[in-house]
């Protein structure tokens, strides 16, 4: 069976959930070979093996942290060279983070392959893996495949279930030679984002977002309390972010994050096309808005026309009461 390279997104050895989802999809098109880079790479092997990796290729070097993107491309290319020398390679799968997409893109052009980004599903086809994508603010669903080279595909979080599928997961050291471009862009300093203790926005099963109707940074605690009662991530519309009420990293929409949770709750968000582009693939959509004419109500499974300052705290209280 052909191998599939899976790029591992991890933080000091802790594998992030989208990578485990990728392993589920990878098994549909071949045998997953994981590529883990940087500090803690070897520590990822156990969990990757548990989720289907037949092999885990690891490499660590200061370049991965000290320079932007390109050293990781050099490493992934080394893994590609090694895997394709051993036989056919079905695909290279990379999580659809900002960095993941850049790594995948550079690899694709280097190896003379096509690239598909932000797949929301993947299946085996007669002429290679077929990826499902959402287009035009998720108003269309397309199915595409790469027609030249080894398919390089990035996959959005929440696109597949995480499934245990124990495999050998033998760790092998990957030999990487860095090219001249690897040290082109130096990372002078890195300030880690403070943890809120809430789930990562793009990975969360439930997202609660606030918009213009929240009417001030000082009111966002209402959104946060509702989110916390559900174990959800907090999002914000562009209007709320541009007004400085919530950080840009939490922005949901065309110029922010695209989310696809099981449940999306929009409070005080009218639902402009730019916002819908970022949340329309959510499984269940709920909205609270004063304006009965707000376009968000065209999307909802359940909507409440009302003042969020009344409805949201009542909802939070009710959830807490029900959860005991």
């Amino acid at each position: 069976m052909a191998e599939v390279l899976v790029y591992v997104d991890h933080v000091d050895g802790a594998v992030r959930k989208p990578t485990l989802e990728l392993l589920t999809l990878a098994r549909r098109v071949g045998e997953p070979v994981a590529v883990a880079l940087g500090a803690g790479a070897e520590a990822t092997a156990a969990v990757l093996a548990e989720h289907g990796a037949v092999k885990v290729l690891t490499a660590d070097a200061p370049e991965f942290a000290d320079y932007l993107v390109v050293p990781k491309v050099d490493a992934l290319q080394a893994a590609y060279d090694a895997a394709s020398a051993g036989g056919s390679l079905a695909a290279v799968l990379v999580p659809s983070s900002a960095e993941g997409k850049e790594i995948a893109a550079r690899l694709a052009v280097r190896i003379g392959s096509g690239i598909i980004t932000d797949a929301i599903d993947l299946e085996a086809g007669d002429e290679g893996p077929v990826a499902t994508q959402a287009a035009f603010a998720a108003s269309f669903t397309t199915k595409s495949r790469v027609s030249k080279g080894t398919p390089v595909i990035t996959v959005k979080p929440n696109s597949a279930p995480v499934e245990a599928a124990p495999a050998a997961g033998a760790v092998e050291a990957l030999a990487v030679t860095f090219g001249a471009l690897a040290t082109g862009t130096k990372v002078v300093s890195r300030t880690p984002r403070e943890s809120t203790g809430r789930p990562e926005l793009t990975e969360a099963a439930i997202v609660v977002s606030g918009g213009r109707g929240v009417n001030g940074a000082e009111n966002f605690h209402l959104i946060e309390e509702l989110a916390d009662s559900l174990g959800a991530a907090v999002g914000a519309s562009r209007a709320a972010v541009d007004a400085g009420w919530y950080p840009h990293t939490n922005q949901v929409g065309q110029t922010g994050k695209s989310v696809s949770p099981q449940l999306y709750i929009a409070a005080g968000i009218s639902g402009a096309i730019q916002h819908r582009a970022g949340m329309q693939t959510s499984k269940t959509i709920v909205a609270v808005n004063k304006d009965a004419e707000a376009p968000i109500f065209d999307l909802v499974d359940y909507g409440v026309v009302g003042d969020l300052f009344e409805v949201v705290p009542q909802l939070t209280g009710e959830i807490k009461a029900r959860k005991g």
């Binding site: 932007l68 993107v69 997409k101 850049e102 893109a105 550079r106 694709a108 280097r110 690239i115 980004t117 932000d118 077929v130 287009a135 035009f136 603010a137 108003s139 269309f140 669903t141 397309t142 790469v146 027609s147 030249k148 080279g149 471009l181 082109g184 862009t185 130096k186 990372v187 002078v188 300093s189 890195r190 300030t191 984002r193 559900l230 990293t249 065309q254 110029t255 099981q262 449940l263 730019q274 269940t284 709920v286 609270v288 999307l299 909802v300 499974d301 359940y302 909507g303 409440v304 026309v305 009302g306 003042d307 009344e310 409805v311 949201v312 009542q314 909802l315 209280g317 009710e318 959830i319």
Partner: protein
Amino acid sequence: MSLRIVVCVKYVPDATGDRHFADDLTVDRDDVDGLLSELDEYAVEQALQIADEADDAEITVLTVGPEDAKDALRKALSMGADKAIHVEDDDLHGTDVIGTSLVLAKAVEKAGYDLVITGMASTDGTMGVLPAILAERLGVPQVTLLSEVKVEDGTVTGRRDGDSASEQLVASLPALVSVTDQSGEARYPSFKGIMAAKKKPVESWDLSDLDLDAEEVGLQGAYTVVESAAQRPARTAGTVVKDEGEGGKQLAEFLAGQKFI
């Protein structure tokens, strides 16, 4: 010495219009108005600010696209760019990101550059991979997804706000920069700017000007195939209730019924 800045922009279908696919599964551009991709306005803005700080700088705005794409160039010129290059060729129809990056790389090299600036993504394809591919093709540092950018003494520095950390980056010119919508509000063209734009030069290049063959671009040169495109069924209208004092409780009831509580 003059700082040569090339800003790559895209003419995209208006997101508020009725966007759909043509019969050949390319983006239908006939039935919906186009405009300069909003995210590229931030690239033009940063180019203008960098040029303001430089002793001597020239901003060329570059696009690949059909006849109408000139509108995107005019907008950038009216904001203050100095000149424009339009790569237009019937054989470009259906070109994917790999092909587009090839055309842009050839055009950027032909134009001459110290700094290439792009937006973070187009607002139609929204892939966000073109800047990285273009840097790879040009063989220059990629300094991408910047929310702050500064160019001085032959180096570019910037801040990249990622999910887990905020990074300060530095690279030597020539380099490729992409900027986010957090980099700074894009200016509106003034009346004077709009009038001046009419007199600014717009060069037209075709594939032969770039030593490219038709087979390298267009649908036949594409590295991906769209097999099908289907409109998502409109979401079936859900329940919308008016809050009469119990709205939060009714919503909790719905969420419990869906097993979210």
